[in-house]
Structures are given as C-alpha cells and as structure tokens.
Symmetry: C2
Subunit: 358 residues, 2 copies
C-alpha cells in the first residue's frame, strides 16, 4: 500500500499535476528562463497576500523567515503573542536570537485579544510584535485585522504575521491592514511539498531593516529586495518547488480566489457537520475557528489512537492526533489545498465507517 | 523546444528517475515514515563525506549553512580563504554577520597555498577558517587535505569547508583530515534540484557551538544534533528533495563510490581532451583543476557568446559563459552528476559541430 493520503494540517496531499510541474527540465537560476518563472509568481502571490509589495521566495521553511523577521526588525523589545505550540516557540526563538522579549500568553486554543495587545504595547519599549494568524496546533484563528489595527496605532512597532496555515485559504489584506511582514510556507493551503517560504515586507519595515546591524546574508531582507528587482533570489532558489508554485497559482487563478476561499469554507463546514453528528467538541471557541483545519477535543473514553490507526490501515487516510502538549487529548483534520466536496466526503465516509466499528 | 539540458556547473540535469522519486506520495515529517526516510540517507552521506558523524539535512541552499557555520563557531576572528566569486563572498558574509574577519586573497583561478594559511594563522587571534574546496566560479580545486593539516595544527581554529561542487565527485575524508564543518548543496554533483543543504559537524565544533550566544534557532547546530538523534530536522524538511536524495544515494551505492569518482574523472578528461584539440586554455593551473567542472579562458577573437547561443539553439545544450568578474572572459562546462561517456560525447560532438560553423 502506498503512503496514506494526508489530511494532517501540513504537509498535505500534493497532486500529480503539481508533481508533473515540479518535474520540468531543470533550468539555471541566473538567466532569463528563471527570471520569467520568478516573475510569473508575483501577481498571484500579491493577490493572495493583499499587497502591492514584491513577494520574496526564500529557500527555507517558514521558521527561517520567522527568525529572519526578528533579526531584520527587532532591536529593542519583541512582543510575542502566544496561543499554541508554534506561537509559543516564537517567543523562545526571540530569546535564542539574543533579543529582549515579552509575551502575551493565552490558553492554548484561545485567540489573542486585541485589547490585551493594546494594553501591553502601551507599556512602551516594544519595536516588534509577532502573531501566528491561524495557530496550526490548536485550530484557532485570531482576528488579524483587529490586532493589526491596534499595532498600527503604535507607529514604531512592526507587526510580523505568520499566515502559514491561512495563506490562500482566507482573505489577507497586508497593505490595507498594515502588516509589516507577512509570511507563509507552501506546504499548507498551497499544497506544495515543503521547502519554500514566501514573504512580503512593508516599505517601513524595509527601511528599518536597512539600519539593522549583523543581519547576515542568507535572510537579509535588503538582499531579497535587491534581487527581487531583477526577478531573482539572493541564494540558489528551490527551482522545482517554484515550478510547482507557478502551477498552483495558475490553478488558483483559474478557480478564482473568492471561489477558493468559499471552497475552503464549505469543505471546513463538512468537517464541522461531521463533528456535530458525532458530538466531537471544537478545541477553539466559535468565531475563532480556523477554516483550513479543525481541532477537536478527544472525548473521554474515546480511543483516538485506534480511530486514527484504523482510518489509516483500512482507508489509507491520515489525520493527526494532536501536537505538543495537547497531543492525544486533541485530534486535527485538515481541509486545506486541493480538496473538494467529493474528496472531503470520502474522508468523512471513511471516518464514519471506522467509528461504526469502534 | 523544452528547456536545454544543463551542462552548467549547477544546477545540473535532473534525471526522470529522480523526479519520479521526488513525486512519491507526500508524507508527514513527524512520524515513522519520515524517520525511516531520514535514516536511510545517513550511511550514504557519511560515506561520501568520510565521516562517522551524523549528516544533517538543512532546508536551505548552501549559503544558509555557510553563514550558519560562522554564527555557530566564530566569535574571535574569521580567516576567509578567497580565490573566486563564492569564496570572496564568504568574507563579505563574515562581516555582514558582524564578525571580525581577515582574508587571504589569491588571484581568481589560483589555489590556496597551505603555507600561506599557516603563516596567517600564526599571527594569532583566529578561531575559524573558511575554505571552498572546489571554487565553482573558477574551476580551481585547492588541496583540502594539506590545508586541513595546517589548520589542525592550530587546535583552537575550526575549519569550515564548502564542498558544494566536489561532494560525491571526489573522495572526502572529513574525519581523517580533521574538517570541523563539511557542507554541500545537492544541486551540483548529486544532481538534485536545489533547495537542500547537507552538512556534518565535528564533535569539537559541536562543543563550541553549545557555548555560542545568539545562534538563533533555524540554523542552530545544537538543534540539528538534537533532532538528528531522532532521525528528524528542527524545522519542516524539504521532503520531496529528501525522497530524491534517497534515490540518488541508492544509485551511488549501486554504482559504487570509487566507480563514481572514476566516472567523474573520465568524463572530465573527455572535456580536457576536447579543449586541447581546440586549444582552449584552462583557467586553473594543472594539478588544481576541478574534476567536476572545467573553466577555460575565452580565446582572443573567439565569439563565446555565439558559441553558447548556437549550442543552445541548435543542440539544446547549455554551458556557462563565466561568472562574476570573469564573465565573458571565461566559459565553464560541467561534467557533474549522472553524465556518462556517451552523454559527454553527445555534448562534445555538438560543441564540435557548432565550432565547425564559426
């Protein structure tokens, strides 16, 4: 049997058409063919990010850019907004970079409250805020627009937003909302194999980066901007993944962005309806639930491990049994990427089948 | 017409079998399937690097690890050994990281002289040396064993070696020669698409890394070691490239490492013989010429640009017209990766055909 089809919240299932695009004859990266490839990704990425700024392509996973944003922008004090495994870790990474950092810590599963951000920033001394829009470990999506509005009211504070599991699943308006760095990995809703991060940087953030010392080379935002002006990257790019990205952006253009958002909402609603039928309770509160993945409490007495194991062995579908300190006591199902009503229903019927035998 | 077959010195031609391996059903990276994949790469990589140390897989191009090695090991003064575009740039990167750095600069095309390294290190104050084994911009290979022996005689100095275009093309003996960090990208002799760097770190270097401040997270050697112990990576790995790497390592095992080295030597000799027939002069001196790529002076009056253009338009083969400040006045031909006598002769016949019409 082949490896199971992934309904874990990233990486997710990669389509044969994407792999075919990734298998195009290799090209050099210092020539017109690559420049055309690079250029072809810009409009699609800008539309998804809601920005007129260039969208850079980093040969790294998202953590590379999450750390880089701090090295390029933070010299006073970082405020890390913590609400799950990945956002909590960003606080640790701030300190590993030698930065002064404070955090707002909410219970896992809960969203970040904009008023709490306002109160904390009002204490003064901060120059950067980090937020994970859609915390993949808990399935909780914070109100990015409202938080951005708060941060925007502190003119010297830059907002760095990880949209790893929301990018291309929900509308993002980087320029309108005043986000300074918006970043994502491509192995979530874009349904590519991992290994490429995309990010855009506001003009103000780029100005600040220029004045920052010791930002190095590999993740230097100024180098990215300089190379992007020539449709290129500072270091050797992940060419096959960019071929794949080009393909995915074409499919998004064909589908229409609004249709894509609607498809994610309706696929997500199918999982919510399934959960309701079986009385599975959401981990995140209503109003702050991710539309790209769902995270549920494991009910008392429910043998989650057998459920997941049988779903895999009998139907070759893989869902996830929770992450970090909520492993086992939660489970997660992704509806990101290329899934349709039909493929979500295949998963749902398979899950029903397994539940019926438990 | 499809994109030309690449005989540029990286990225190079990627085989259909490699692409097929890269197109395997996507898997999650926090489970036993990925751990088995990761583990399957270790023996092959260790044999190629000549080390019993774990070989880490970084989601980045080589520059990421070239910079990371400095951030993990250098706090006093770096000595950058400069002999071409990439080794010269490493000196700039040292300074961009805020490090004190000096360099030994030799003329492009010339190798690094071990005695010069000894004399410089004897001045004192250095804690790291960077060397590019095979300078891809000039086709010049320095005597790594001899340089390593010199550096080894200064016990507090760590040797960081970029083997980007020599890895798997020539024997490397990291442990025996006393190299502290050995790194490579996979888009050169390993014939994978770019986007993955491999590196190994000596025990002494790992000990030093542990004491270094502000090494961050994404490229923290200590995090790599911790995760490698569980056959994993600190951040989301470039899974499709690792599937490809697994395939390439299998083909290397089937061919036999010594046979692979011999094949690179004989393919390289074919290009040398071709150059001799046409009186093209090597850019690097005899005894220090790369066996994975060749760099030639553009003869006076020779229309290099038309040669390369016609080779592409008529035969769909791409060679390279020089890099950096020797662009135009040199040209380069790769014989890295999966090439055989037959495929090298195809290129040679095509080049002869084009030359005959000039």
């Amino acid at each position: 049997m082949s490896s199971p089809k992934l309904f874990i919240p990233g990486p997710i299932d990669v389509s044969p058409a994407t792999y075919a695009a990734m298998s195009r004859t290799m090209i050099g990266h210092r020539g017109s063919e690559f420049e055309a490839l690079y250029a072809s990704t810009q409009t699609g990425l800008q539309d998804l990010a809601g920005t007129s700024r260039p969208v850079f392509l980093a040969t790294s996973s998202a953590w590379g850019v999450m750390e880089a944003a701090l090295r390029n922008l933070a010299s006073k004090k970082v405020l890390n907004l913590c609400k799950g495994a990945f956002s909590d870790k960003w606080f640790d990474v701030s300190k590993k970079c030698g930065l002064e950092a404070e955090k707002i810590q909410v219970e896992w599963g809960q969203p970040i409250c904009p008023d709490a951000v306002r109160a904390k920033l009002a204490e003064g001394g901060f120059d950067t805020v980090t937020l994970i829009h859609n915390e993949t470990s808990t399935g909780c999506m914070s109100d990015l627009e409202a938080i951005a509005k708060v941060v925007k009211s502190f003119p010297d504070v830059m907002l760095i937003v990880d949209t790893v599991s929301s990018f291309s699943a929900v509308p993002l308006k980087m320029d309108e909302w005043g986000i300074d760095v918006l970043l994502a990995g491509v192995q979530k809703a874009l349904a590519l194999p991992p290994g490429l991060a995309i990010f855009a940087v506001s003009e103000a953030a780029m100005e600040r980066a220029k004045s920052m010392k010791n930002r190095g080379y590999y993740f230097d935002f100024v180098e990215f901007e300089k190379n992007a002006a020539a449709n290129n990257t500072p270091s050797t790019p992940a060419i096959s993944l960019i071929f794949g990205l080009q393909h995915i952006l074409q499919t998004i253009a064909e589908e229409g962005i609004e249709n894509r958002f609607a498809r994610h909402r309706s696929n997500n609603a199918l999982i919510h309806a399934w959960a309701q039928r079986h009385n599975f309770q959401h981990f995140a509160p209503e109003g702050n639930r991710s539309v790209s993945l769902s995270c549920f409490h494991t009910p008392a007495g429910f043998d989650q491990s057998t459920f997941i194991k049988n779903l895999k062995s009998k139907h070759n579908f893989l869902i996830n049994g929770g992450y970090g300190k909520i492993k086992g006591i939660t489970f997660r199902i992704s509806n990101m990427g290329n899934e349709t009503t039909a493929t979500m229903n295949e998963l749902i019927h398979a899950m029903d089948d397994v539940l019926a035998t438990m």
